[in-house]
């Protein structure tokens, strides 16, 4: 299971980087979306995968019986998803405005502020 997830995460990172190296800013944003999802999946995997064991404490006990899934990575991912969703919504609006102002979808046309 971990091996499969490792390949998936690696593939997502590679895809994200490939997309971000394209010249189109739309593809750049798609790359960023994939990158943030890859990072979330990586936290999930490295937190340890446990199947079918929710972090619940049976009635009458003070601590869980047996192995349970660690709830913290899921809380972290939830936070990270909310944040990256907000930021990406901003990025989408930004590229729309940039497209309107600059009139091109190509990062090669955005060199006037470089020096």
């Amino acid at each position: 299971m971990e091996n499969l997830f490792a390949f998936v995460v690696g593939g997502l990172y590679a895809t994200a980087l490939f997309m971000m190296l394209r010249r189109s800013i739309v593809k750049l944003v798609i790359g960023l979306i994939i990158l943030s999802n890859a990072a979330n999946l990586l936290i999930f995997t490295s937190g340890g995968l446990v199947r079918g064991a929710p972090p619940l404490i049976p009635e009458g006990l003070y601590q869980p019986a047996g192995t349970i899934a660690d709830p913290l990575p899921q809380a972290l991912i939830l936070t990270a998803i909310v944040i990256s969703f907000g930021v990406l919504a901003f990025a989408v609006v930004l590229i729309h405005r940039a497209y309107e102002v600059i009139g091109a979808d190509d990062v090669n046309n955005m060199k006037s502020t470089d020096s």
């Binding site: 960023l32 913290l72 972290l76 930021v87 405005r97 502020t113």
Partner: protein, 500 residues
């Protein structure tokens, strides 16, 4: 529960919320922002005093004991950084009174500014590495908003680079946090320090450390990750560039100081001695060479930010008490000086309607006070005694000499000279030479709001002079900070003490 630690975050956050409520009354927003700037400064000074007299202050959120809940910690470094945030927040709030155009104010300049300050203060005070990520995102999203306020073409181009690079850095940060949690099973920084120091020398820890270095290096604009900064920092209105230039990159530097003094000290020969040192030296040199090649005031200043970041990194890389003290002193001095220079460039723009050195001129004759007020931060940046920059550079270089790191010492001295060269270039072109013939006549002379612009500039220059002439006290403070950073036992004890 220590309220002093939370108040510096709450004040700007509440001010931001109040500004949002008063969306239509811009006058009210202005007053709120000045009052909250002053309040933040006051609260941070109280916090610094507490930390100095009573030791490290810790607040456990929701009363969960340390490794389980989120902890806010104020040690000397954090408290000093919050004080500087307060100073800059107040100065920029006052400066914005006269420079922000109606449309910028109408699109939410003040709420964004305060939310950004809240994010910066939170990043300085948190003791939890995932919480640090959250504060970073808060300050980033507010800064994205500030960056595109006005929506000119240059701003859009700058913003795309700024946003993209910062999002990549956030993803790196998140990756590193995930791997770190998988390895150590905790996210509290003090707890991480304990767990990682007990662990055997592991390659994985160094890999994670390097991921953090890349993530924070992008935010701090260190070589070779700085290209977004000169492309974007000169595009927004000058008050916004000033607060960005002063504070935002230094949040990255602060995070590097925190993480590489507390958590990743297993393999200092490689992480500090090789990687950070090389990064610092190259950052110094490339930044100042970029500045020497530019002929636009704000671009020169933007490249200088990068160059000065190098000095701070070198201070961290040497990793002796004196060097780290020099780095801390440098951060403190640099934030004030750099913000001040950007504010001065805004007044130059008021007079001439341009940032281009070829179109500027004659300011020494028409605005002698401005010339004096430019000279103080400019010469301080170049490191002339007795201004604050001299002591900052002196401490770092002396630490380099004591360690026998001659390459770094030579580079620091050469970069200091080149810094002086580019500051003199601004002086000679903008102040000394006569007004160019084709330039528009000076417009700012009868500007009734000019005193509002001069007040924060003079205030910051006064702080620079105070640091310079009262250097003894500030160096002592920096030494105490460095000792605290280099012996993290006190930090760990303060955070985990109640629970173990």
């Amino acid at each position: 529960m220590k309220a002093e630690v939370i108040i510096p975050i709450l004040i700007p956050m509440l001010a931001g919320a109040l500004c949002l409520i008063c969306w239509r009354w811009r006058l009210v927003q202005r007053w709120i922002s000045v009052v909250s700037g002053a309040g933040l400064l006051l609260a941070s000074l109280v916090l610094l005093h507490r930390v100095q007299t009573e030791g490290i202050q810790v607040a456990h959120m929701g009363s969960w004991p340390a490794p389980y809940g989120i902890t806010l910690v104020a040690d000397l470094l954090g408290a000093i950084m919050v004080v500087v945030t307060g100073i800059i927040g107040l100065a920029v709030a006052v400066y914005s009174l006269a420079t922000m155009s109606r449309s910028h104010e109408a699109f939410g300049y003040y709420p964004l500014l305060h939310l950004m300050l809240a994010g910066v203060a939170g990043a300085f005070l948190t003791g939890d590495i995932f919480n640090l990520y959250v504060w970073f995102e808060i300050l980033l999203i507010a800064s994205f908003g500030l960056m595109i306020l006005g929506g000119e073409r240059a701003q859009m181009e700058g913003a795309i680079k700024y946003v993209t690079l910062n999002l990549i850095s956030s993803a790196m940060f998140l990756t590193a946090v995930g791997l770190l949690y998988g390895y150590a099973g905790t996210l509290n920084m003090a707890d991480l320090a304990v767990k990682l120091n007990g662990a055997e020398q592991s390659g994985l820890v160094t890999v994670i450390a390097m991921l953090f270095l890349v993530a924070f290096g992008i935010k701090a604009a260190a070589f070779p990750l700085f290209f977004w900064l000169p492309a974007s920092y000169h595009t927004p209105p000058v008050a916004i560039s000033a607060v960005f230039a002063g504070l935002l990159t230094k949040v990255g530097v602060y995070a590097l100081f925190r993480v590489f003094s507390l958590i990743f000290v297993q393999d200092t020969g490689f992480t500090h001695g090789t990687v950070l040192m090389a990064m610092g030296i190259f950052t110094m040199v490339t930044g100042v060479l970029g500045a020497a090649a530019q002929f636009e005031v704000r671009r020169i200043l933007s490249f200088h930010i990068i160059s000065q970041i190098g000095y701070m990194l070198v201070g961290l890389a040497l990793f002796t008490p004196l060097a780290v003290a020099g780095g801390v002193f440098y951060i403190f001095h640099h934030i004030i000086v750099k913000t001040n220079l950007f504010l001065v460039s805004g007044v130059m723009y008021r007079y001439h309607g341009s940032y281009d050195l070829a179109k500027l001129g004659g300011l020494y004759r028409s605005a002698p006070w401005l010339a004096a007020l430019f000279l103080i931060p400019a010469m301080s940046l170049a490191g002339l005694p007795p201004l604050s920059g001299f002591f900052a550079k002196f401490t770092v270089i002396k630490a380099g000499v004591l360690e026998g790191h001659w390459l770094m010492v030579a580079m620091a001295l050469i970069v200091g000279l080149l810094t002086l060269y580019s500051m003199v270039k601004i002086w000679a072109e903008a102040f000394w030479k006569g007004l160019p013939e084709d330039a528009k006549s000076l417009r700012g002379e009868r500007d009734p709001h000019l005193y509002v612009l001069y007040a924060p500039i003079a205030g910051l220059a006064l702080i620079t002079l105070t640091i310079g002439f009262g250097a003894e006290w500030f160096v002592q403070l920096a030494m105490a900070t460095a000792e605290q950073l280099l012996s993290p036992a006190g930090y760990i004890e303060a955070v985990l003490g109640g629970s173990q």
